[in-house]
Structures are given as structure tokens and as C-alpha cells.
Amino acid sequence: MQVCWAFKPSVAMIFSLVDIVSLNSRKFPGKDAFRFLSSALTHSELEEKSNKLAKHLKDKGVKRGFRVGIYMNRCLESAIAVYGILKAGGCYVPLDPAAPIERSRFVLKDCNIKHLVTTKNQSRKIKKLLATTTEVDCLIGCELEDMPWSFSWEDIFKLSLKDYRALQIMEQDLAYILYTSGSTGTPKGIMHTHYSALNYAKLVVDQYQFDTSDVLGSTAPLHFDMSTFGYFAAPLAGATCTLISDMHLKMPTSLVDFLKKSKITAWYSVPLILIQLLQTGLLKNEDFDTLKWVLFAGEVFPTKHLRSLMGIWKGKTFGNVYGPTEVNQCTFYNLRTAPKSDAPIPIGRVWKNTEYKILDENDKEVSEGQPGLLVIRSGTMMKGYWNNPELTKALLYQETIVPGANAVYYRTGDLVQLNTQGELLFLGRKDRQIKIRGFRIEIDEVENTLLRIADVAEVAVVVNQNNDEKVLMATVLPRDNRALDVGEIYLFCKLHLPPYAVPEQIEIWKEFPRTGTGKIDRKAIAHKLTFSKYER
């Protein structure tokens, strides 16, 4: 078996995420750590530039545990931002530049972000955000007029490191907070530490045997948990991470070309991007001989598409990756040959340092082969939800193995079942959480957002299937027969929800079908709604 360098004696030097970068800068100073479009950042440049950002952040008041926002798309600066913030002792909080300003403002306020790191091309949105926010008093990456507390990246890179002293980062320190849809109507923050993130990175490197020869293709935005693959696992393996631009993800034909030229050895994305690549019809004309691993996660890969892709990309190993943001990844299922039927593929087995149970409604383990709710215990588990100990407690399942040393599991809310080969099958959700294009959406959040409109009395949001795509649809009842305007409701959604959570179709109804007990019959509503009846 090939031994990865990270597990040679030098691994004993890595206790936190920042140790990875420092070690790499000594081992492979001139090797590319990150690539984006036609530019690159070597390990030594990453070390130096992130130290400079850390120094600046410390000078501007960042202390251990401070939340620092990152507001940018994938680019080389995003890697500098991640490691610079971590080196300053801070905890990075990625904000989605595509999200409505109100949502970003909520996140800034919710975790009290005073320092924000961005890039020049976000200036339009940054100005809008800062015009209505009082939290932020230090902006980095975009120098704005009349804001003496804003600094360009050039300002940062000019700094001298002569009197810079690295902070001792502890593995228990908070590393990042990822916000995800919350059923109450506002997003919730998932807290990860250096310990959980580093455990994840180690497990990835071990599971997929990545080493210094690998080039990992990263497609996920920073606010999506799949991004940790590129930002943490790639550097731990001493590999190069290629950050794939938004432009390429939106133009699959250009992506085919990029993929061919970039010599990526391991790909990781949501299934949709792979389906779009497949649907260009151009894959079969090209040779992707460097590509060894095709990993996908975020939602179920329709097996018929997976089979088509595997028919074209022969000799590569495909990997189904599963794990809620709260535990990063926890299971793997690898395929060398295409599945024979259209049946969904398993999510597989738990990887190392991880165990699971399948429980019934009363927290009793189900008998083997029976469906139940998956709970996970792992070194990759989150610290908890930001500023929400009640929710954290509610979603943890504790078992006393030895008094005083409980085994703590995370309740995924996913319904699973063990097949006869001992692999886990994903059956669905116990609640109303769905995935669209890999993004996690609580339908309750969408409904609660619509209910904030004064003239709306009741709402029902349902999911319909349009070919392979899941589509969110909303129906609303007006209060006291008041006049409602579909365009205005749609605009309200766009102002308060991330783009992927905005219903594709909104209809105003006079009444809802109800069940015998008077509850809204959502199944009947979903049935009545047909796609594209209403052109927005």
C-alpha cells in the first residue's frame, strides 16, 4: 500500500489546520498549493500571504474565537482568507455573495462579525451590505472611498512580517461556522473546530489515498461544506487544489475543455455538475487520462445518469460521498463498474473513526435490515450550533458507555436501512428538509418566510419533480380575500431567501385541499400543480 507523506513522521507536527500550511511551506515551497484560472499560489506564497493577513487582522483587533466573514467567490484570495483568519485565531464565516443582502446582514449580526474579507469585484454588493450594517468596522480586500477602515489586498501584501509572532492555535479552537437553512425561518450556524476539520481532512487523504502527485478539483463555494475537501484535504496530502471558477460551472462546454487541460486527478462536485458535463455530449471525444477519482455528494445521483457517465469514463473510480454538514463526511461507497439496474446506489459504509446506529422513533435500535433514523458519532463532528445550545442538545443522541464519558451521536434525520451486504441505503428524510442542486433547504423556512408577508394567511410549499430536477412550488392563501400580487411575492422571496430556495412557481389560491382533520393536504397540492403553468 502506498504511504502518504502526511503519515510519515512529519504528521506529528500537525495539530491544527494552520500547521498544514506551515509544514508544506517548508517541504514544498515552490509547489502549487492552489490554482485558479491561469494563476497559482505556491505553498510558500500561501504561508507568507496568510501570515500577512493574520498579522493585519490581529492588529485590527481579532482575537481567538472572533468570527471573521469571507465574502467572495472561489479565487486564490479565498485560500489566503481561510488560512489568514485561522492563523489570527479567528473563525471564518463564509457568506454567499449570491444570497440576498438581508440574509448576509442576518449572518453578520447573528455571529457579530466585525471584520470582513472580500475582493474588489464584490464592491457593488459590499457597498450595499455595509450601507445597512453597523457591525463591520474593518474591511479587507476592497478599498472603498470614505472608508479609512477598508484595505486592499495590495495593502496587506506590502506588510512586513518582521515583528509577526504566530499565535498558538489549539485543536479545540473554533475554525469555521457554516450557515445552513433553519426550519424556524432564519439560517443556523454549524460550528466546526480545527479538530473536526483536521479529522475530516485526514480521513479523506486516508480513504482516497491522495498524495503529492494529486490535483484535486474543487467546485463548491466556501459556504458549502463540500469546500473543505479542496481547502483542507488537498493541502494535507501535499496535493494541489484547483478551484474551478463559477464561469466554468455555468458553462459546461468550457468546463469540459478546462477539465481536459487542468490535469485534475480527483474530481468532487454535486451530481448536477457531472450530469451537465455529460449532457454536453462532448465527454466522449476527449481523453481524461489523468482523472482517477470522480467523487460526488450533496444529493442522490440518478443512477441512469451515473451509468451513462461511467460508460464514457471507463477505468475511473466513482465515489458516492455522504454526510450532513454537521459531521462533514461519514460514509463512502466506491464503484469501479456501473450499476446494472436503475436502483439507487447505497451511501455505503462508515469510514474510520466513525460509528453509527439506526434508531426507531423511541431511540431504540432497529433490528437488522429494518429502516430507521441514522445517528453518527465521529471525530469529524461539529461542536454544535452557534448560539443555540437547545438545538444542539435536541439533535444529539447520548449513550452512556462509561459513566461520565458519554458517546455523543448526531441525529442526521436521514432515514436509512442496511442492505444484505452491510451497506447503508438512503431512503429519505423524516422531516421536510430537501436538497436542490446539493443545497440544503428546510421547506419550513420557505413557508415561514412567505408567512411574513402581511396579506398572506396560509402557505403550502411543495416539491415537484421536473425531469431530473426537483422544483420548489408555493401556493398561498390571501388574508381576508385581500389582493395579492404574484410578482411582489416572488420579489419578497428573492430579497429574503438564497436563490436556490426561491420557489420556481408561485400561485395564489382561494382555498387549500384539506385532510379529514383539517390539515393542509400537501400531497394533493403537489398533484394539482403542474410545472410552467405560471411563467414568472
Binding site: A98, S245, S254, L495, R536
Partner: protein
């Protein structure tokens, strides 16, 4: 041609209302203005509005980066 495309994007595809109007040289793909679903809708709109067929191999960054790029592509194709 530019005005029609800009009007369609502004009315149908943007995440939110802009303070300044969208310009023909603004990067549509990178700036977080439109998502990938929006790009697909834009292609469908252009095909029906200008009576052209856009084959998958033409759906590249070079042809769709800005409204100006789209115009140039359509002019060359005709």
C-alpha cells in the same frame, strides 16, 4: 439586440434589483448576478427571440461572458 437581452436579464434573471442598470460589458457569469439555471433560461430566450439554434459546443464562456460577447457571437453566427 443588446437592449432586448439586457431587458430580459434585468426583468427575469437577476437575483435582486440593482442600483445601477446592468451594462453590456458586465460579467454575467462570474459576478453572482445570475445562477446556472438563469443562464439556461437566457439561452432559451435568445434562441426563441432571435430565431437561432445554439448547439452545446457554442455554450462557452467566450460566447456568453457579457451581453457584448453574446451579441458578437450572434452576429458571427448569422
Amino acid at each position: 439586440m443588446n437592449d432586448k437581452i439586457i431587458a430580459y436579464i434585468t426583468d427575469n434573471l437577476l437575483y435582486e434589483q440593482l442600483d445601477d442598470p446592468l451594462t453590456a460589458d458586465e460579467n454575467l457569469l462570474e459576478s453572482g448576478l445570475i445562477d446556472s439555471l438563469g443562464i439556461m433560461k437566457l439561452v432559451v430566450f435568445i434562441e426563441s427571440e432571435f430565431e437561432v439554434a445554439i448547439p452545446p459546443e457554442d455554450m462557452t464562456i467566450e460566447n456568453f461572458m457579457t451581453v457584448n460577447h453574446i451579441k458578437e457571437y450572434l452576429m458571427l453566427g448569422k
